[in-house]
């Protein structure tokens, strides 16, 4: 088996097929990054998976999953103050959590340098929006590099690290979902392992680091001046790339993955427009853009998500009184979704209808949709089944982020409103104001409890809000790939003392803390009813370990799977197991009868309480 470690730590370099999220770790190692922090979130957690393959004694960098993105950014900032080259990475909406810290970074002098890796998610593949984080980079006066491929992820991270270190600043490398996960052969440079210099070099003389009132202005001036000179300090090949096809009539300015989509689409075009690809998307490489505008009659800005470049480029043309016609976003559709090759063809057709042959009509799909599902044996399914039985009609249920968000789907339909990580207690408190008629129930996962849930809980206590919080505790950060959190008793490197959720709630002074394993459905129903009948803020901890994690661990240890449950002759096809419980293991035979799918059932038996005929029995050994 090929070891990721051997690829990542090979002093000779070499070529290997890797995804962007792996290539970036090699770039960190070659750049001498000493401290890396994160909070898990798609599309970035595989960066940590790659780091995890490095054996502790040979790993040149310190890594931690911090409690949230804000803390992660602060840990990286602190390390950079001490002179270490640091890196923090997280998903698109993670930057909102980190924002209070993040917006200050441009003002700061960071002797070690800091690279912020953002995993934006155009297409909202696994996020609650598709926000364009270039806006926030601009807000913070920080530069942004935007790679298109795993090879560029590798080269641009190294350029960003070198720039961050030389300019003592933070530099953003903005990835998107299919740049993170795209795979190709990347050629790595040799790398000379060097002993780290761990001297704590923090000095207030490197600052000022206290931006209060009038002290803000010199720092802001410094940030703006630094931003202005950065394009000149960057390798020009990384800054921009011009593809000159001798077309003076039409040009396209683009960046990131849309550039690759464009190259796949243009072979079918009547002509090849010239292309200016930006590697540096903030600040705008004004000189190169200006030259491009001056030499073309029409320029299309092919830009994924928002019109970030468009406004600046139009302003540049206006300032220089250029006659060029600039085609930006022409339809709300241009603002939405990932710029795949198919999408780029549609966007280009709106700007230049004659450029490409008419696209084929979008495919007609009759295959039934397949929404994501809770896994077989998932404790959340038992919880939803039990909780539903306890909720009176009209109950308002507030979802949060995690696997349990999937409860909003039929047949459970629990969780009617969702904003972001940890919003549930705050939102529930507002829904409970002046409301004596409809109970309010908030949900929260265990990792989210620590990440952003606590302030809402404390507020509920502080301001005497009246609602029920159900903590859906599965003992891991499940949705993003089973990372540990403060409640699990392990951090990224070692066993640590767990911080039990119950103890935290007790410490805060929560009077009503009820808890049970979710497989005990009757008990959970009774506890939720009890909580709803109790005035004030009360909590139910609905606990069951993530069964996907459990079955994977069992398989890894070579333990056989439990035999699937079986249906006895008592089954009279009431189909509650499907219509109400909806475990994926229950399927229909061609004759329309219920069967247990042997590929899917893990033999957990969590379904047994739901059958009104007691027809579900444990499987017998040897059956599959």
């Amino acid at each position: 088996m090929k070891r990721m470690t051997d690829v990542l730590l090979n002093p000779a370099g070499g070529s290997e097929i890797v995804m962007g999220n792996t290539a970036i770790v090699r770039a960190m190692i070659e750049s001498g990054v000493r401290v890396v922090t994160s909070y898990p979130g798609s599309p970035t957690p595989e960066i940590a998976s790659a780091i995890q393959t490095l054996p502790a004694e040979r790993c040149p960098l310190y890594f931690e999953f911090s409690t949230n993105e804000k803390v992660a950014t602060e840990v990286a900032f602190g390390a950079a103050l001490n002179g270490h080259l640091a890196c923090v990475f997280f998903k698109s909406v993670g930057l909102n959590v980190a924002a209070d810290t993040f917006v200050q970074l441009g003002l700061m002098n960071l002797p070690g340098g800091l690279v912020i890796v953002l995993g934006d998610d155009p297409g909202a593949n696994s996020s609650q929006n598709e926000q364009d984080n270039r806006h926030l980079a601009r807000l913070a006066y920080l530069p942004v590099l935007e790679p298109a491929s795993p090879t560029e992820v590798y080269t641009m991270f190294k350029a960003a690290a070198a720039l961050a270190r030389a300019e003592r600043t933070a530099v953003i490398v903005r990835l998107t979902t299919h740049v993170c996960h795209g795979k190709e052969k990347v050629t790595f440079a040799p790398w000379e392992p060097a002993p780290p210099d761990d001297t704590p070099r923090f000095s207030p003389q490197n600052g000022p680091y206290i931006p209060i009132t009038s002290l803000v202005f010199p720092l802001k001036r410094q940030a703006l001046e630094r931003l202005g000179r950065l394009p000149g300090r960057l390798d020009p090949h990384i800054c921009t790339k011009l593809s000159n096809h001798g077309n003076r009539r039409r040009g396209i300015i683009t960046a990131g993955l849309p550039y690759l989509s464009l190259l796949d689409v243009l072979p079918a075009a009547r002509e090849w427009p010239d292309i200016l690809k930006l590697g540096l998307v903030h600040p705008l490489p004004r000189q190169k853009v200006l030259e491009f505008l001056q030499t073309h009659d029409e320029v299309k800005i092919l830009e994924e998500l928002d019109d970030f470049l468009e406004g600046q480029i139009k302003a540049l043309a206006f300032d220089h009184r250029l006659p060029v016609r600039i085609l930006g976003k022409l339809d709300p559709d241009d603002w939405m979704g990932e710029y795949t090759p198919d999408k780029v063809a549609r966007v280009l057709a709106r700007a230049w209808p004659d450029l490409l042959p008419p696209p084929p009509p979008p495919p007609t799909v009759t295959a039934p949709p397949r929404p994501a599902q809770l896994c077989p044996g998932c404790g959340h399914r038992s919880a939803f089944q039990a909780i539903r039985a306890a909720l009176p009609p009209g109950t308002i249920t507030v979802a949060d982020i995690g696997c349990h968000t999937l409860g909003f789907l039929p047949p459970y339909e629990i969780g009617q409103v969702l904003l972001c990580m940890g919003h549930s207690c705050g939102t529930a408190a507002g829904l409970a104001l002046f409301n004596r008629q409809r109970p309010v129930v908030a949900f929260l996962g265990d990792s989210t409890f620590f990440h952003a849930g606590l302030p809402g809980i404390i507020n509920a206590l502080f301001n005497h809000h009246d609602f029920t919080l159900i903590v859906m505790e599965n003992g891991t950060t499940a949705m993003t790939g089973h990372q540990n959190h403060p409640g699990t008793g392990r951090n990224f490197r070692e066993a640590v003392e767990a911080i039990p959720i119950r103890r935290v709630l007790e410490g805060l002074g929560v009077k009503t803390i009820l808890e049970t394993d979710t497989y005990q459905q009757d008990r959970l129903t009774a506890l939720v009813k009890q909580a709803l009948a109790t005035p004030g803020f009360k909590t139910v901890i609905a606990r069951h370990p993530c069964m996907l994690k459990f079955t994977r661990e069992q398989a890894r240890q070579g333990k056989p799977r439990l035999p699937p449950v079986r249906l006895t002759e008592a089954c009279d096809q009431t189909k509650v197991c499907i219509s109400s419980f909806a475990c994926p293991s229950y399927q229909f035979t061609p004759e329309g009868k219920v069967r247990v799918h042997p590929d899917l059932c893990i033999g957990d038996g969590s379904c047994r309480p739901v059958c009104p005929r007691q027809a579900i029995q444990p499987g017998k050994k040897g059956e599959a």
Binding site: E46, N125, P371, P411
Partner: protein
């Protein structure tokens, strides 16, 4: 094969092992000295949803994504997903190879949509002039090996340009080890060596 692009679109259900299938094919093409790139679904969709991998073989590709209606080969590990892949990504006249597992999606189980039967799939394939191939192994030791059964079928029928069993075996050896590797190589060799069935 020198300059032509061969686009493969793979799909299945989270948990079926599309990831190993796509990674093995990617590495096999690399072992054969062919330029290849691709991308897999990660994250939320893996929880029982449709999982997709794109693979683009040949020197003239840029994006890792296969365009709609343009895949030369669609590989599905499940029958409902086979219909989806046929309808969204297979080019007219392309090949659809599917493992005939049936993991009914939620709307089917809730009675809101009909099951996709082998007949429905066959009719849909005919309408699109697709060459349809069903893979099914009666005595498969472990359902997680359906992906290996499909790899073996593809090699036995020469569907993957320039690839031989040796390239796939090398790829599997890159990705697996110990008893897992041995078990999968054994199944792969047995199925590659099996007598001819439906020709491609």
């Amino acid at each position: 094969m020198a300059s032509a692009t061969f686009d493969i679109y793979m799909l299945g259900v989270g948990g079926q092992g599309i990831g190993l299938l796509s990674e093995a094919l990617l590495r096999a093409f690399d072992h054969a000295g062919t330029q290849v790139r691709g991308v897999d679904t990660h994250g939320l969709a893996q929880r029982g949803g449709t999982v997709i991998s794109h693979l683009r073989v040949g020197p003239d590709t840029h994006s890792p994504l296969v365009r709609e209606g343009s895949a030369d080969l669609v590989i599905a590990l499940e029958r409902h997903e086979a219909l989806r892949g046929l309808q969204t990504h297979l080019r007219p006249g392309g090949q659809l190879v599917y493992y005939d597992a049936e993991w009914q999606p939620l709307p089917v189980r809730l009675g809101q949509a009909p099951r996709v039967t082998p007949e429905i799939l066959a009719t849909a394939a005919q309408e699109r002039r697709a060459r349809l191939h069903r893979v099914f192994v009666e005595d498969l030791p472990d359902p997680r090996q359906q992906n290996v059964a499909v790899m073996a079928w593809l090699i036995r029928h020469g569907v993957l340009p320039g690839l031989t069993a040796r390239h796939l075996e090398a790829a599997l050896a890159d990705l697996l080890e110990g008893p897992t590797l041995a078990r999968n190589l054994e199944l792969f060799s047995r199925l590659v060596g099996a007598g001819p069935d439906s020709p491609p």
